[in-house]
Symmetry: C2
Subunit: 135 residues, 2 copies
DNA sequence: CCGAGTATACGAAGAGATTCGTTAGGACAT
DNA sequence: ATGTCCTAACGAATCTCTTCGTATACTCGG
């Protein structure tokens, strides 16, 4: 069976997200590479399990693959940012009644350390938002 | 069967989260009330489906119930804030490589409108964070 | 050519999530 | 007492997620 029509991007499951994280970090990779990397975190995770997931994800359109070589090479078909947006939106809708800023408050209030550059970046965004609203 | 030992709070599933949202909004409610409210959003959602979920959630420790009346009254056993913390942490770990501020940036950058009070609150938090780090 | 090693493909088991149909019991008006 | 209406309880079907075992096929050194 070939991949489905995918009008919208499919939400990755937890296990799929673990694999996507690796692909985003490693770039195009064989099943073996992904498996080895994942094994660092999760010992006893089978090779064929990872293979199966990549096949499923290919079918869902979450990854692409180059199969001209014997060992197929997989790469993400969705960007990290796109996925972050998607999941963040779902969290906001599901648990924060649609309020972005409530999520921001929640995330910040739990922080103990934030790098200065990030603080600055956040402030810059706030300034832009405020500017946009005052005009 | 009575509820399990629950050392840690169980992660609510999507469907369970929908019901929790209603309970947080409505306060203690009968199955019927919850069902009616949910029906506004999701037509064709069976009454016994909601009932079943509430029973499952009772078993998981996500809700409590008062069954002295014929129509049992359910209320949340987990707070909205607690659940928001839990889910936010999972999102941060799963999709943002553990970086809180990256989530904040993501959430803010998608925003078009943020209420002034919230902006102020966010700034206040930023100030506190910055102060804590400079000392 | 053959066997060891490494790949993919496939199917299926087991757990969890979601959704109801059906059953049975209480309340109450007739 | 009986039928109607509401309620909870239960079991089960279906779907999705997660994980492998097994089969099969390619590659390369001897």
């Amino acid at each position: 069976m070939k991949r489905k029509s995918e009008l919208r991007t499919v939400r990755p499951t937890n296990a799929e997200l673990n694999i996507l994280r690796m692909l985003w970090r490693l770039g195009p990779s064989t099943v073996r590479s992904v498996h080895e990397e994942l094994s660092r975190v999760d010992r006893n995770l089978g090779y064929t399990t990872v293979l199966k997931f990549l096949q499923i994800m290919l079918d869902k359109g979450l990854v692409k693959r180059e199969d001209s070589q014997r060992a197929h090479v997989y790469r993400p078909a969705v960007s990290r940012e796109q996925t972050q947006r998607q999941l963040t939106r779902q969290l906001i809708d599901g648990a924060f009644d649609g309020s972005r800023s409530q999520l921001v408050l929640q995330a910040l209030s739990g922080a103990d350390v934030v790098r200065p550059e990030e603080l600055a970046e956040i402030r810059a965004l706030l300034d832009r938002l405020q500017g946009a609203q005052n005009n």
